[in-house]
């Protein structure tokens, strides 16, 4: 059970052009900002949007191939979709909603109903079987949508921002439920989200999509440690600079006076430099000691986040430092104030761009 797809489609200004592969039983999160083309990916896989070029192969069966005109309509693809706003059918009861896929595929009324009821039972929704979707809470509606998409046992399940329609309070709970329910389904799953928390809780691997192209993919841990775009860096809350590593191992950041020494000197050439905000230390005076990078800079902005204070520093080094409120009080930091920023060489993560 694998999915292999090359998706090329132009929608307005956006050109989506990406490769996507999902291994058997794998959960992949498609992460990206609004307008990156995430939903477009789902629509092409589901057959709701035709490709301009490329192909989609599910378990060796071509669902679409622009080269030879192969095309399987959505109703004959084994692809279940959980839509962002669920799109439950308002005139049908919950159990009729869940049985819909089976009925549409020719299962008899009684058997479809029995199977839908069993699934609702498993999802803890048996009590709601006879109700209309309008009587459900957001979390319940989401589970019904998931049950409906899984009832006909698709080989690929697509989830579009499954938690976006929920308020922050229920999101955590529903995310946990969703994790358990998804674990009970052994097909391939592709989850679209803009929230790394969802990706972390639900996915084995993330694919980061920006402006229609894949900028990065891998495990969330790897992506977090080695962001390759400002979007990913912002998403995971780390400092990302681009530069060039010289033969001496010193990295000069493009368009800035910042120079870095990394403990693990990278190969000469273009590199990304990631520095976690907590690794940026602030002092009133110049420091000496272990191999480090230091700059005399200025505070441009202070931002309190619970028990952390995020300090934005002027260029150079143009980074964000994260310190404790205690440290802030000790340094008596204020916007516009000069300060020494230091980063240990061992805290500098440099990798080829």
């Amino acid at each position: 059970m694998t999915l292999e797809a090359t998706l090329v489609v132009q929608i307005g200004e956006l050109l989506l052009d990406m490769e996507l592969a999902i291994a058997p039983g794998e959960v992949v999160a498609l992460l990206g900002p609004n307008g990156a083309g995430k939903t477009t990916v789902l629509r092409t896989l589901a057959g709701l949007l035709a490709l301009d070029d490329g192909r989609i192969v599910l378990d060796g069966q071509p669902l679409e191939d622009v080269a030879d005109g192969a095309w399987v309509p959505p109703e004959r693809r084994s692809v279940g979709v959980v839509f962002q706003d669920y799109l439950l059918f308002p005139t049908l009861t919950v159990v009729e909603n869940v049985a819909f896929g089976l009925r549409a595929r020719g299962t008899g009324r009684r058997e479809a109903r029995a199977r839908a009821t069993a699934l609702l039972d498993q999802f803890g929704l048996a009590a709601y079987a006879g109700r209309k979707p309008s009587a459900l809470s957001g979390g319940q509606a989401q589970r019904v949508a998931l049950a409906r998409a899984l009832a006909f046992q698709p080989r690929l399940l697509l989830l579009d921002e499954p938690l976006a329609a929920l308020d922050a309070g229920t999101r955590t709970e529903v995310r946990r439920d969703l994790r358990e329910l998804l674990a009970g389904f052994d097909g391939m799953r592709l989850l679209v989200t803009h929230d790394p928390l969802d990706a972390h809780a639900l996915a084995d691997r993330v694919v980061v999509l920006e402006a229609g192209t894949v900028v990065q993919s891998g495990t969330l841990g790897h992506v977090t440690a080695h962001p390759r775009s400002p979007y990913v860096a912002r998403l995971v809350g780390t400092n990302l600079l681009s530069g060039v590593a010289g033969a001496d191992g010193v990295i000069s950041v493009s368009g800035s006076a910042v120079r870095f020494t990394a403990a693990d000197a990278p190969q000469p050439g273009p590199v990304h430099v990631a520095v976690h905000p907590q690794a940026v230390a602030l002092h009133r005076d110049a420091q000496t000691g272990s191999p480090r990078n230091d700059w005399l800079t200025r505070v441009t902005e202070l931002d309190e986040h619970g028990d952390r204070v995020r300090v934005t520093l002027a260029d150079p080094p143009g980074m964000v430092a994260e310190i404790t409120p205690g440290a802030q009080a000790e340094l008596t930091l204020a916007a516009g104030q000069p300060v020494w920023a230091t980063v240990k060489a061992t805290e500098v993560e440099a990798y080829p761009a």
Partner: protein, 259 residues
């Protein structure tokens, strides 16, 4: 203030004729006129024909509205205009056109007659045809607007679940558009019930066969105005009841969708 005055004038404009009818009604002879055999025949014929016309409008109009709202094809706007032209056409012209197409020597009519012996003009079926011709567009337009407004997303969801587009429409979208379907059917029925021009042109005016209530009313006006007034009251009463019933159903359906 001016708005209020104009609105009052408008209300008066619509109520005054009704009051006039009520005032001029010969109540003493009303019952005798109502139970007159010709009147009863006309009422019966009107109900049967208008219900047939409504049924046919639904059977053909629903798929037509679906095609116009969902199936993109070149010339769709032209087809839509053609199919709703009879709404703005003078009904008499519609009747003449039907004659040209379905009359005994008409485009299709002479085949119907030669091959099957079917003669639509001056028959009860002719009344139904004339009424359907002018009534169906009301259903098509109402339903198509509702389908466009509902959008295709629920149908898309149904298709990912394995439903073909017509199955998805029938089981998902059409039930969602039920208020519009009912409203459209009622409008069509009201239009069919009141049909005059196309009916008298295409089907003639034979008591018991093609003489519907509006036709009987018009004829009565020349013979005995008080009878025409009583018949008018019957038509108004029926229409008013339908309008009231529709409001309730409409509201119910709308509320049902929101809950």
């Amino acid at each position: 203030m001016l708005g209020l005055v104009l609105a009052t004038v408008a209300v008066a404009f619509f109520t005054l004729p009704l009051v006039g009818l009520l005032v001029r009604t010969p109540w003493s002879s009303a019952w005798r006129l109502l139970t007159d055999e010709t009147t009863l025949q006309a009422v019966r014929l009107s109900l049967i024909c208008s219900l047939w016309a409504t049924g046919l409008s639904v059977v053909f109009g629903v798929p037509l509205a679906w095609v116009l709202a969902r199936v993109p094809f070149p010339g769709r706007n032209v087809v839509r205009s053609l199919c709703t032209l009879s709404m703005v056409l003078p009904p008499v012209v519609g009747g003449v056109a039907l004659f040209a197409a379905l009359g005994r020597r008409g485009l299709l009519g002479h085949y119907l007659f030669d091959w099957f012996g079917i003669r639509l003009p001056f028959s009860m079926a002719g009344v139904v045809v004339a009424q359907t011709f002018v009534a169906m567009p009301f259903l098509v337009i109402t339903l198509e607007a509702a389908l466009r407004q509902l959008g295709e997303r629920h149908e898309e969801a149904a298709r990912t679940l394995g439903a073909g587009s017509w199955y998805a429409f029938r089981r998902v979208t059409l039930p969602m558009a039920r208020p519009a379907l009912i409203a459209g059917a009622v409008l069509s029925w009201a239009r069919a019930l009141g049909e005059f021009g196309a009916t008298i042109t295409f089907a003639g005016n034979f008591p018991g066969r093609t003489q519907t209530l509006p036709l009987a009313t018009y004829l009565a006006l020349e013979r005995d105005p008080s009878e025409a007034i009583v018949l008018s009251l019957v038509l108004i009463g029926v229409s008013f009841v339908v309008l009231l019933a529709m409001r309730d159903r409409w509201l119910d359906a709308a509320v049902g969708r929101r809950v």
